[in-house]
């Protein structure tokens, strides 16, 4: 809530634009109007840290008309969501272990193969782009709309990701995620197909059918799926853990329904997939894009600059290089860049354990043809370690331009708290390793007992040996790890929740809350990235902060670019394309087809 003695926000003080609430961006923005030569001595908002949320906030504020100074203590963009080279990772690990990020990171362990060594190794440090908090983008999501409206997507390249695998019984089951696949999957009994379709139809419109889900609103969704929709364990697990991306068996029904719908309604917005990822790096890349947008909108950027303290009575921020700036509105700080002698930085209660590996294997076996990424989910109880929480794994191949040909990056993470998390991650890594060696098994052809040579020297495959279960096949080949990074990241966002707005209330400017001697009285802290593998929390968090600063979020990225050519037209298309109603109609039609079970209609079924 806003306090009555609150200063008027930028939006309130700004003269009202005639008959339009949206900001008109002038031609040649950022070019026509040369920027001042020196650091300003007065800004509206100082933002410290160039992570994902801070960068979206900076761009939103700049385009709204606020004067923004955006700094970062590092020599690169991205902060807690940076995309880093191997050398930058090495430095970061040292900083973590020297205690430079108390409350934010701990326990970083790094192995780097000598193959990655500038000049001498087969690979150079900058051949790789490693994300501290990798994320995937749902095709129908608030961030995607912001990317399009702000034109930031023009700085970026996106690719599709349609391979979602659920690990079960020691193997990867590819997700049956489209209606086409449900109907063509030979392994699914007709009854199951029908039940699945019934559920999909329900979930696209679940809020309006409380009679179905309300009895389960405080129970795990598994109960409803089994009792109401008669689904079997494999489908329940797929829906909960691959499509819904849940962390454990106990997630409440409404939360899961929301997330299953997120996946299904994103399907076919751009093509037969629900999820995208950005090339060259994830949130680190998007942060750069939003920072550039903010700069074009007039924000000033300074890397290698850190905050020493902020004095809320004089409203002056002091930097460690001796300079200072007067701030009319707010100071916003990433927890990783809190000034020394801070006493208001929020507790980061929840652990996210992350294991990041660079593997010398293309892992194309896991990707859909023409793609270069996959998600593998290890449901509770599927691993040797007896995991209680899910391990999620996001795999990027060289097509993502974050690693060279013949290599791939595996990002594993879990919301399991405490020391057993590392055991779960190790078990998942082992399972992935065994699986990829088995599936690729390039040494199969070289195995003399399988491959024999006929009288004329032609190769003959020993089918008896080949027919043996691949599971029993012990490969000679070992996976070559080029890098392994384990660490714990902390966050104030509980698993499965979005950022809590009350987080930003703990530090208002009421004087009784000022802690004597603290260097960070009166500042707003942003949230550390949550465990969520999608970008879904980012816009929510940026909007809440925006509202705290501007007074309302009405004009959050309310941009009206004047060149109104094809981009403006496609913006309209975009909004039409993602309307819910269409999904429902399609679902209805497909269910009808499902009942009659005729094969020739399969081609028409779309989600």
């Amino acid at each position: 809530m806003l306090s009555p003695e609150r200063r008027p926000s930028m939006a309130e003080r700004r003269p009202v634009l005639s008959n339009s609430s949206s900001i008109v961006v002038p031609h040649l923005a950022g070019i026509e109007d040369p920027l001042p030569d020196s650091t300003p001595d007065k800004v509206d908002v100082l933002i410290v840290g160039t992570g994902m949320v801070e960068s979206v906030l900076a761009a939103a504020l700049s385009w709204q008309g606020s004067k923004v100074l955006h700094i970062d203590k590092n020599d690169h963009y991205g902060d807690s969501s940076a995309t880093m080279t191997v050398d930058q990772i090495k430095r970061w690990v040292n900083q973590v272990n020297e205690g430079e990020y108390p409350k934010c990171y701990s326990n970083a362990k790094l192995y780097v193969s000598t193959s990655i060594e500038n000049g001498r190794g087969r690979f150079a440090s900058r051949d790789f782009g490693l994300d501290l908090a990798p994320k995937i983008l749902f095709a129908k999501s608030d961030l995607l709309s912001v990317l399009v409206n702000s034109r930031v997507h023009q700085y970026l390249e996106f690719q599709s990701l349609s391979s979602f695998h659920t690990y079960e019984n020691d193997s990867f089951e590819k997700l049956t995620n489209t209606k086409q696949e449900i109907f063509t999957d030979q392994n699914l009994p007709l009854m199951t197909k029908r039940n699945l379709m019934k559920f999909i139809k329900f979930v696209l419109n679940w809020e309006e059918q409380p009679e179905i889900w309300e009895p389960y609103s405080n129970r795990p969704i598994g109960d409803m799926l089994v009792e109401k929709f008669k689904l079997d364990k494999p489908q329940v697990f797929e829906l909960m853990f691959s499509i819904g991306l849940c962390y454990n068996m106990h997630t409440k029904t409404p939360e899961v329904l929301q997330r299953i719908r997120r996946y299904l309604s994103s399907f076919d917005v751009y093509g037969p997939f629900s999820v995208l990822y950005s090339k060259y790096g994830g949130p680190g890349e998007l942060s750069q894009g939003f920072c550039r947008s903010a700069a074009v909108g007039g924000a000033m950027y300074k890397l290698n600059e850190s905050l020493a303290s902020y004095d809320p009575s004089s409203k002056i921020a002091y930097f460690n290089d001796g300079s200072k700036v007067s701030v009319t509105e707010k100071v916003v700080i990433s927890p990783t860049q809190a000034p020394k002698y801070n006493q208001n930085a929020p507790e980061q209660k929840y652990e996210i354990h992350r294991l990041t590996c660079i593997v010398e294997k293309s892992c194309e076996e896991w990707f859909t043809e023409g793609e270069s990424a996959a998600v593998v989910v290890f449901p509770p109880g599927s691993l040797k370690s007896g995991n209680q929480e899910v391990v999620q794994s996001f795999i990027l191949g060289s097509g993502s331009e974050t690693c060279p040909k013949g290599t791939s990056i595996w990002y594993l993470s879990t919301t399991q708290q405490g020391p057993r998390a590392e055991m779960d991650l190790d078990a998942a890594l082992e399972a992935m390793e065994a699986s990829i060696v088995r599936e690729s098994s390039s040494d199969l052809e070289n195995d003399e007992s399988i491959l024999r040579f006929g009288p004329n020297g032609e190769p003959v495959i020993n089918s008896v040996r080949l027919g043996q279960s691949f599971k029993e096949y012990v490969p000679r080949e070992k996976i070559q790890f080029l890098l392994k990074l384990y660490h714990i990241q902390y966050t104030s966002t509980p698993p499965f929740a979005v950022v809590d707005p009350s987080l930003f209330d703990i530090n208002r400017e009421d004087s009784e809350r000022l802690i004597p001697g603290a260097s960070d009285n009166g500042v707003l802290y942003t949230a550390m990235p949550s465990a969520e593998i999608s970008y879904d929390e980012v816009v929510t968090a940026a909007k809440v902060l925006y509202e705290k600063i501007v007074g309302s979020d009405d004009d959050f990225f309310d941009l009206d670019f004047e060149d109104g050519d094809d981009a403006a037209i496609s913006k309209t298309d975009f909004e039409n394309a993602i309307e819910d109603d269409e999904d429902d109609e399609d679902a209805e039609m497909s269910v009808g087809v499902g009942r009659s079970g005729t094969a020739e209609c399969i081609g028409e079924m779309e989600i």
């Binding site: 060259y280 550039r292 670019f561 975009f574």
Partner: protein, 228 residues
């Protein structure tokens, strides 16, 4: 692929290149682009001015065959991020050409320009990157050669030694500005045409290469429209 051939209609081939601006602040980087975009009112003008970057199209004379070649520049301004060495890797990524600008009336600005050239060679992977060294503000020296602080010969020698294109211009009068972009366009066409032909042939054969998803173009249940 470093550059995109964004289609051909009839005999017209359109090549698209990313061009970045570099140089110390206040040497007039933006004014040069502004002048170029503002003065290009020919039939090929296709200037989309939004918040992302400037686009400007020119026809190049170098291709004498029946087909005509149009070069589309996607021009990225520093947006002030160069001031505190805060340009993101994104800025340099996949750049095909760069203007490194100095002020002929400021000796120090050529020194800075040399540093930017080194930075470019470090950051941009493309060995065919076309760099053009540009001395701006020659109008200030008109009839007052005392104002000149950087001799043409000095800059030209440096450019030759580093294999850079070199021009002295005035963004204020427009003198020499268009030539910068024409000669960059011609050089890009020369260095990239073989690569483009190869890429085109590859596309005709198998299209196994991964295609980017265009976010501004959702497909309404048309599985083919997601890729171009």
């Amino acid at each position: 692929m470093d550059c995109n051939s964004s289609g051909r209609s009839g005999n017209r081939v359109m090549l698209q290149f990313k061009l970045v601006l570099l140089g110390d602040s206040s040497v007039g980087k933006s004014s040069i682009v502004y002048r170029f975009v503002k003065d290009s009112f020919d039939e090929f003008r296709e200037s989309t001015i939004g918040a992302a970057f400037l686009s400007q199209t020119i026809k190049i004379s170098g291709s004498s065959e029946q087909s005509e070649t149009v070069i589309k520049f996607e021009i990225w301004d520093t947006a002030g991020q160069e001031r505190y060495k805060s340009l993101a890797p994104m800025y340099y990524r996949n750049a095909n050409a760069a203007l490194v600008v100095y002020d002929v009336t400021q000796q120090d600005s050529l020194t800075k320009a040399r540093a930017w050239v080194n930075e470019l060679k470090n950051k941009v992977g493309d060995e065919d990157l076309v760099i053009c060294l540009v001395g701006n503000k020659i109008d200030l020296c008109d009839g007052d050669e005392d104002k000149r602080a950087v001799e043409t010969g000095e800059a030209r020698d440096y450019a030759a030694e580093q294999s850079l294109l070199f021009y002295e211009v005035s963004a204020k009068t427009g003198s020499g500005v268009r030539q910068i972009f024409e000669s960059i366009g011609e050089k890009l066409y020369e260095t990239k045409k073989d690569e483009l032909a190869a890429a085109r042939n590859r596309q005709m054969g198998s299209s196994k290469d991964q295609v980017n998803v265009q976010l501004q173009r959702p497909s309404t249940n048309d599985p083919t429209s997601c890729c171009y």
